[in-house]
């Protein structure tokens, strides 16, 4: 029953290969096999959004995807959001400046979700940001500072990109 499968994935630009049981979630795979502990598992049933990562650029819940399903896919975790030189991404920088986190448990998932949003929609309204954030639960701060940080990051990123 507990067969072992070989899984080859690219995470944050780096290739990894491991042997795992098919029942292992992508979230556990990232944390326990690859030791990328930036991805946090909260509820493990798809409600809290803490484990959100990007799979081929799309935000998904790493607790609701099996590691074996990630075979051949490109994954970005919170560890992959900063630039190669260690400089924070504009979104991370704005989170810091606007105090958009407190305990930080939900932050990796929120950053991944909002990274996708800002890539697809460089000028989101507050309502769009809040609708997108509905899939991530934060129990410390409320969401006001997170929304403020996202608006600030979007503004700066539009400035960097030139045309709106």
């Amino acid at each position: 029953m507990s067969e072992i499968r070989r899984v080859a994935v690219t995470v944050n630009g780096k290739a990894y290969e491991r042997s795992v049981e098919p029942r292992m979630s992508l979230g556990d795979f990232l944390r326990h096999e690859l030791e990328l502990t930036g991805t946090h598992l909260g509820c493990e049933h798809g409600v809290c959004g803490a484990c959100t990562v990007l799979v081929n650029g799309l935000s998904v819940r790493a607790c609701l995807m099996l590691a074996v399903q990630a075979q051949g896919q490109e994954i970005t975790t919170v560890e992959g959001l900063a630039r190669a030189d260690g400089a924070l991404s504009p979104l991370q920088q704005a989170f810091w400046e606007k105090h958009a986190l407190q305990c930080g448990f939900c932050t990796p998932g929120i950053l991944c979700t909002l990274t996708e949003l800002l890539r697809d929609n460089p000028d989101p309204s507050e309502a769009e940001i809040r609708a997108t954030l509905s899939g991530n639960i934060c129990r410390c701060t409320g969401y006001q500072a997170i929304v403020d940080a996202t608006l600030l990051a979007a503004e700066r990123m539009r400035g960097e990109g030139g045309a709106r």
Partner: protein, 291 residues
């Protein structure tokens, strides 16, 4: 919160998937996994064999031909939500999808997975009922088409056989210029609705209601069409009085009661949401050029 062990299969063709399904007992198909994996994590569901449809070619895609819109069963909800073609042809589908779970679950969740899971309050099941959609299924024994009423067998139960796989849903969007609205009440954005209402209205050249469809979910095990309300609307003027009368009929449909929500409250929501949906649909119909 870890699933029990299972054998994992990743077939590359529908024939292979169907053969696996026929061969193995206690096997489950894995589509987007946004409902099945949580149930496996809770060990509500403990399949011995998990057959992944994500590796099967040819099960996803949006195809509009003539008056029919066909969505492959493995089409991601996200793909439909952001499709300009669907936005033009079937805007109610986008309004409904925006209320299905969250962005992260729609990125992975599929049209067919939601229809097969058949939660009583699922938005996509409501849309299927509203359009009298046709579902296409396939097994080694052949292909068949079922109307949604035939497919939706009972509480979270579809009518497909053990070896059958849902391959697509086909529906006929209403002609250009129709009005639409999809409204629901959920305790939090993205939760399953307590009650959801899908409404379609088409006006004739004189501005009277030529055609009306209303589907209500959350009252019972399956979405229902408010046929008496639809009958009242046909031929009527799109006025507040007509909508109140139709909404009153919708509020008389049978409803279930559970530990959280009484039948009377569900009926109240059916009435209120029907009235609001009709008003919004009529407003949208009036704003658009008629075909």
């Amino acid at each position: 919160m870890k699933p029990a062990a299972f054998a994992y299969h990743d077939p590359t063709s529908l024939a292979e998937a169907s053969a696996l399904l026929a061969r193995h007992e206690n096997a489950r198909l894995l589509a987007g996994g946004q409902s099945l994996i949580p149930m496996m994590n809770f060990r509500y569901v403990t399949p011995d064999h998990l057959i992944d449809l994500n590796t099967v070619a040819g099960l996803s895609g949006i195809h509009a031909s003539g008056e029919t819109l066909r969505l492959g069963a493995m089409t991601r909800q996200r793909e439909v939500e952001f499709s300009a073609e669907i936005g033009r042809a079937c805007p109610i589908l986008i309004e409904a999808l925006a209320q299905v779970g969250h962005r992260q679950t729609r990125n992975r969740g599929t049209i067919g997975g939601s229809l097969c899971h058949l939660d009583p309050a699922a938005e996509l099941a409501n849309i299927a009922a509203l359009h009298d959609a046709t579902l296409e299924a396939e097994s080694a024994r052949g292909r068949r088409r079922l109307g949604f009423a035939e497919f939706a067998h009972g509480y979270m139960t579809h009518a497909l056989a053990q070896d059958e796989i849902l391959t697509a849903i086909a529906l006929e969007p209403w002609p250009r210029g129709h009005g639409y609205a999809f409204l629901e009440l959920a305790r939090r954005h993205g939760d399953f609705a307590i009650v959801a209402v899908g409404a379609l209205l088409a006006l004739d050249a004189r501005g009277n209601i030529a055609r009306a469809a209303l589907a209500i979910s959350g009252l019972g095990a399956l979405p229902v069409r408010a046929t008496k309300a639809q009958d009242l609307l046909r031929g009527a003027k799109p006025t507040r009085e007509s909508f109140l009368a139709a909404a009153a009929e919708a509020g008389k449909l049978d409803a279930m009661s559970d530990a959280y929500v009484s039948a009377a409250y569900r009926q109240h929501l059916a009435r209120t949401l029907t009235q609001r949906a009709l008003e919004r649909a009529a407003q949208r119909a009036a704003e658009q050029p008629r075909a």
